[in-house]
Amino acid sequence: MISSSKNHAHIILTLVFLCISLSLLAPVMGWILILVVCAVVMRSALYLDLHKHAPSVRTLNLLALLSAIVLAYFSLQLGVLLGMINLLVLACSLKLMQLRSIKDYYQLITCCGFLIGCGFIFQNSIGFSLFYLVLTLLLLLSLACHISPSLGINKNLKRIAVMGVQALPIAVLLFIVLPKIGPLWQMPTSKSHQTGLAEKVTPGDIAQLSQSADLAFRVTFSGNIPLPQERYWRAIVMEEFDGKTWRVSPERKAIQRQYKQYNKEFKPVLSGRYFSYQIITEPTHQNWLYSIDIGVPDSPQSANQIWQSHEYQLTSNTALVSNFQYSLRSFPDALLNQALYSVDHRINTQRPDSGNPETQRWVKNLRRQFPNDQEFINQVLAFFAEQPFEYTLQPPLMQSNPVDTFLFEQQQGFCSHYASAMAYILRLADIPARLVTGYQGGEMREQDYMSVYQYDAHAWIEAWHSDKGWQRYDPTAIVAPNRVTFGLKTAIEEAAELIDSPFSLDGFSSIAWLTDVRLFLQDIDFVWTKWILGFDKSAQKDLIKSLIGELTPKKLALFGLSVIGLIGLLLAFFFVPSLRGRKRDYISQYYQKSEKLLAKLHIYRPKSQGPLDFANSVERKLPNSLHQPFNQVTQIYMQHQYTKTTQQQASHNKALMKIQWLRLKKAVSRQLKH
């Protein structure tokens, strides 16, 4: 039984737990947070002696039972990951209310440590990482206060700080050197945490995404950088349309599953000019990857992690639960005609027969006039150009016959409206067409890297051309040419206001230093993402290679040993001084040295004799030149040993001691020569 009253260890632990729970605001359910706050208030009251008794075990058991039932009720909709985290937070809050024994305390510390780790699943910016680091140190401080309670919180804080600084280099070494292993098993991801593009598009959806200024991914190019109008980042190809919503074709999924089963990956043959680049994605908890036109993996590492499918779509083998780095090579001029035409054709001419009667009639007429596919497509594009279409983030709702309403009544829409309508029109005219979603644009930071944000999300179409295969058409570009060349912000004025605040500091901002700060923060974030979050197997290999050259087993073994040696050296550096005693006592050392000098003249101090008596006996035995310095040495030594001296005096004495010792040394050597 331990008391919480005035117990620093407990109150620090309580505060740390509160901070962790609040930082997990999104994944943790509200009612559990309320329990957390209750537990914190309870513990604080006990700490401040406002209240004397913790709730009884029976009350808590009842509460635990009720909470467990409620959590079980929600668990299905939460999924495994969120369920687990909610359960952990719930259990911790109940434990905190009940904190009685040392065992409880240790368990709570461990759980809090684990929760901090879980926090990184949801937050991994620099700011949050520092925040969690501070929480970890506070957790350790709580432990220190628990083990040495009367040392005082300041001293404990200092100890923890020193320990943290000492542990950091070792941890960095381990991080760099210890082999990274791949996922041991597929972890549950939470549906509600999927971000970015969705597997289905109902026109209007992407508009939501476009109001987010979050980063989608970053790209570093080696060599040429694509022009703004070439920056079409393909992500998801949608080939199933039901009149309202586009989604990934189930048939396509089935085909892909089969290919995967036989491990027959689609390998397009490509030639011509290319862009070579490396992408670091933000975690989306989905599998879609981005590439310009047809991208193929550029490194064996990436090839292992990426699956190329027949609609020229790249998917990662595991869900992107953390920052994912891959390198690609894209061929913008290559033709997309290498997949099986019959399959493409069958899937991509499918359309709902009913609905949108006006569009159907209009297409029938137009098709009759322009039986040639290319001419027909040109006419459709011309229609978009001539009619007074408006490109807007906030189009009106179009519930029934959405394509009819959009094309002939409202004529206001966002990219998905245009793309959806055009693909539908082409399908009605029996031209295979499909919707592609991804990102269009990207902000280049000088020549270093390109950032693509969520508001760059875009939708366009691909239509089949009998010679060239799949061709990209972007009706949005016809309605709002600025969208493609200068990005969303220029295309729609209202966008700047709708997108989150950091974005509003952007571009137009007349305050130069604010822009500088923003860009500087971006650079830091890039380095953080690339070197810390994106430090994966291949990055590790490259780093070690750059340190020791070619990786041979012998060299690797030596490298491993030297790292262990380095850690050993670090430990020695930390601990050998304190092993040899706190402070070196120079004055005593000089006294001992002086005694050794006299020993050369065969004068020894018997153990029973004090230094003063010894000095007197020396005076009798030795000439003036010798005993005088020794007398001085003895006097300073006595003063040092038996009186309190200030820091200043001590250093003065040290200097004096050295002078006298040197005198003695000279005299002794002279004596020995004679």
Partner: protein, 323 residues
């Protein structure tokens, strides 16, 4: 089970031999992760698995950071513990059946060692927790004394989990001790027997009479009660002089083990123990005859101690020597 313990004990005797004073060093310190340390390592493993599965470098880094701390703790714990000096305080004797408070001195030079320290006797549950930053010495460890005789002091176990409770440092120290456990005093009638004719000369009650019948003055002998000191004479500068009372010369005789009626030898010894204490309290002169050991009649505390020691160490099968 028993075999193992014997082996462990033998090994310990070789590793940490008995001593009067210990300066803890690598030979005497054992170090291992504590139970919480195990839990902590489990946490690291959990973080590593979760971090690997989510390919989350920050989680893996956190795991390595905690592991590095664990490694550092190993050294900090050792250095903190190794600076202690431990010594047994002075304790002469006790009586069987009572709780003996064993004093233990811990020299924490210049307070270089910190944190909580747990002391207990090896294999005994009861422990005393002290805070090295804030405590007074000696620390008293209670020990149940069950049987008379020379007390075999169990090894003293010191445990510290400084600095973070992850690493447990401990040691089992065996102190040289000459603590004697006297038999448990058992109230009984004091029966002094005259040696010459082996007849009872005095059946003194435990409440002796004539306690303050002043007789004469004599030089003070070590062990006499202070209230017998003739302070008036002392104040006059005549040296330590004590008053002699009349009844003390009267009750002279022997306490004989053989003459007691109790069935059990231990009970007899207990009764004798009581009688020795009573007689000394009354300043009587008496001798002790245990059959194989005889102590000539005398009085005073030293005599009492000699008698009690004889009682404590008495063994009917040993050939004794006359004291």
């Amino acid at each position: 089970m028993f075999g193992w313990q014997a082996v462990a004990e033998r090994w310990l005797n070789k590793r940490i031999p008995e001593a009067h004073k210990y300066k803890l060093n690598y030979r005497s310190i054992f170090i291992f992760p504590s139970r919480f340390g195990g839990l902590f390592l489990l946490l690291c493993l959990g973080l590593f698995i979760l971090g690997s599965n989510y390919q989350n470098n920050l989680m893996i880094f956190l795991c390595y950071f905690l592991l590095s701390l664990f490694l550092l703790n190993l050294f900090i714990a050792y250095l903190n513990f190794a600076k202690l000096e431990v010594q047994l305080g002075k304790v002469k004797h006790g009586f069987a059946g009572e709780k003996l408070q064993i004093p233990i001195w811990i020299h924490n030079n210049k307070r270089v060692s910190n944190g909580l320290l747990k002391l207990n006797f090896w294999k005994l549950k009861h422990s005393v927790n002290i805070d090295l930053d804030d405590s007074t010495y000696p620390v008293y460890l209670p020990l149940d004394c069950e049987a008379r005789g020379k007390l075999k002091l169990p090894r003293v176990t010191l445990t510290s989990t400084y600095p973070l409770g992850l690493i447990s440092c401990w040691t089992h120290l065996a102190f040289v001790s000459d603590i004697l456990i006297y038999p448990k005093p058992l109230a009984s009638k004091v029966r002094l027997i005259s040696k010459d004719d082996l007849a009872e000369v005095n059946e003194a009650d435990s409440t002796a009479k004539g306690h303050d019948d002043f007789d004469s003055l004599a030089p003070y002998k070590q062990g006499e009660p202070l209230y017998h000191v003739a302070w008036k004479q002392v104040a006059k500068g005549q040296g330590m002089i004590s008053k002699q009372f009349s009844n003390q010369s009267g009750a002279t005789g022997w306490l004989m083990l053989a003459s007691l009626r109790a069935a059990d030898i231990e009970q007899k010894l207990s009764e004798l123990c009581f009688q020795v204490i009573e007689l000394t309290r009354n300043n009587s002169t008496f001798g002790l005859d245990l059959g194989n050991l005889k102590i000539e009649p005398s009085s005073g505390t030293e005599h009492q101690n000699a008698c009690l020691k004889a009682l404590a160490l008495h063994s009917p099968y040993l050939k004794g020597v006359n004291a």
